[in-house]
Amino acid sequence: MTDQLRVITRRMVEHPADSHTLARYEATGGYRQARRSLDMSRDELVELVKESGLLGRGGAAFPAGLKWSFLAPARPAYLVVNADESEPGTFKDRQLLERDPHQLVEGMIIAAVANEVHHAFVYVRGEYPKPARRLQRAVDEAYTAGYLGEGIFGSDYDLEVTVHLGAGAYICGEETALINSLEGRRGEPRLKPPYFPAAKGLYMMPTIVNNVETVSNLPHILEMGPEAYKALGHEADTGSFLFSVSGHVNRPGNYELPHGLTWRELIYEVAGGIRGGNELKTWIPGGASAPWFVPSDHLDLPITKDATAKAGSMLGSGAVVVMDDTTCVVRAAERIVRFFAHESCGQCTPCREGTTWLEMILRRIESGAGREVDVDLLLEVGGNISVGLAWPPRMTTICPLGPSAVSPIISITKYFKDEVLAHIHGNGCPLRGAQR
C-alpha cells in the first residue's frame, strides 16, 4: 500500500541521467500518444479524460474532462499550463519540469488537440529558472523534430508553444490572475462570473488552464486507457497523486502514491517518521491554504478527497507540512498568515486589510505582548474575510487567497487554544528553549 507508484515519475527514476531529453523520451515510448490523439475527435478525447476521472492537480481538484467540456465554441481557443507552483510546501511541478519536460509537452499536445487549440502557453514561476530552461530546451527539441510548429507529426495541425516566465507573485497561480499576468497586466484575479476562462479567458477567448501534473498524466491516460488509469487510484481519486512532504519528517520529498493510505502510513512509513524520535504535533494536509490536522483526530483517516473534506480540510496541491512537538504553533501560524498578507494582490479590502491585521495580532501574541481579547480579535477579523469561519470558506473576496489566511487561525484556536493563551498569560512562547 505504501509502495510508490511509477507513472509520471517512472522515466526519471529509471533513467536519471537523461530523462529530460527527447532521445530518452522517445526511446521509452514517448510522443506515440500525441500522434494518436491527432486521429481522435474532440468529443472522443474529452470523453476519455472524463472516463479516467482525472481531477485537476493544481489544488482545486476539479474534474479535468468536465473543465474541457465547458470550453465555449468561439475560436481561437487557448491552452495555458499553470507552472506557477507557489503554494508553501509544494515542490512537485518543479520536479516534473526539470526531470521529464517532454512528458508535459506531449500532454500539452493532447490537451491542445482535444480543445482545438493552436497556441499554448506554459506560465512558469520566475523563481524556477532551471525548470524553465529544461522545459524551453524540450520545447526547442520538439520544434526541431517537427512535433511542434506547423503541421505537427506531418499532419495539417499547427501548434505553437510559448514558455512564459512569471516574476514573483503567488496570486498568479489563480487561473484568472495568471491570465491577466500573461496578457501583460498586474496579476489580479478576475470576477467569476463573467470571466470563467473556458468562456472568456486569455484575450477574452475560450481558454483551458491546467496544472503541470494534470497535463503530465494525459499521455498515460491515453496509453493505458481510462479503466486501467482509474484502477491505479483509490475509488473517486483516480490515478496516482504526487505528495510533497516537508517539515519535521526524516525523509521529506515527492512521493507518487495512490490515495487511500492513512496519514499515519504517509508520515511514519513513507516519510520515515518524525525527526529525532520526536512526537508529531500537527500537520497541514494540503498546502498552506488548508486547515491543519492533529494526531488525536486525524492520523488514521484515509487520505482521500472526500474524507479530508469531511474532516474540514483539503488535499489541495498535495503539500504535507509536518510539525513536531518542538513547534510553536503561533509562530507557524504567523509565518503562514504573513505569506498571504505578502501575496495579497490588494483588490479586495477584507483580504488586503484583514491578512495584515491577522499578521500583526499573531506577531503581538508571539512576542509576548498579546492581550486576552486578541484571540477573539483573530476570530473576528478572520470572520470578516471568511464568513462564519466555515469550511469550505464562504468568501467575501474575488478569489480564495484571503480565506486561505484564515485556515491557520481556525486551526490554532481550535486545537491549540491553551498554547495561544499561554503566550498571552506567560508573556511569550512557552516552548522557548525547546525549539531547535
Binding site: E127, A132, L148, E183, R331, R335
Partner: protein, 210 residues
Amino acid sequence: MLPRTMSRWSPETRERARRILARYPEKRSAVMPLLYLAAAEDGHLTPEGMEEVARWVGLTPAQVQSVASFYTMYKRERTGRYLVSCCTSISCMLLGADEVLAAVEDEAGVPAGETDDEGVITVEHVECIGACGGAPALQVNYELVEGVTPDTARELIRWLRSASPEAVHTDEMQELFGTRRSFDWAVPERVGAVGPFPAFEPYGTTDGNP
C-alpha cells in the same frame, strides 16, 4: 516597430525583443519578458528601461510601471552583483531558515532588504521558492541552493566575495554549499545567472538558437 535610432538597447537586445514579440498573439503579453530584458540591459529595472518597454508594446510608461511594481522580481533599485534571497516560509522556517537568514545578514553586514557598501551582496527574505523538501533553501540571482545551514550560508557569502564568479550556477553552488535536496537533481548543468534576474535564455525561441 521602434526606429532603431530611438532605442537605448544594443542590436542584440533589440533582436531578442523582436523574437519575444513574435511569440505572442498580442504584443502587450510581451511586457513581462521585455521587463527582464530591460533589467538585464541596465543591471536592474530603470525608468528609462521601462520607457523603452512601453514603446515596444505600445503602452504608456505609467502602465508598464504599474505592471512592474506588482511583481517582486523586477528590481527597480540597483542591487548588489549577487542577490541572495533567503526563503523564510513555513517549511524552511521549521528547519532553521530564520537562523540561516541571520547568518547571511551577519556575514554580508547588512539587514534583509539592503545592499552592502561594496555593491556585491544584496540580502532579502522571500516567500516560498518551492524547495520545501530541501529546506532551508536560498537563491543567488534566483539560482537555487537547498539544504543550507547557517555555516554553509556564511561560506557561500564569503565565496561570492572571494571567488567573484562571473555567473552563478545552481548545480555548482549546490555541490559546494548545499546538502539535502527536494529530489534527485541527476545530471548537473552549467547555465549561470549574471545578475538579479532569472537566467532563462533564450526567451521564447523555437529552434534552440538565441
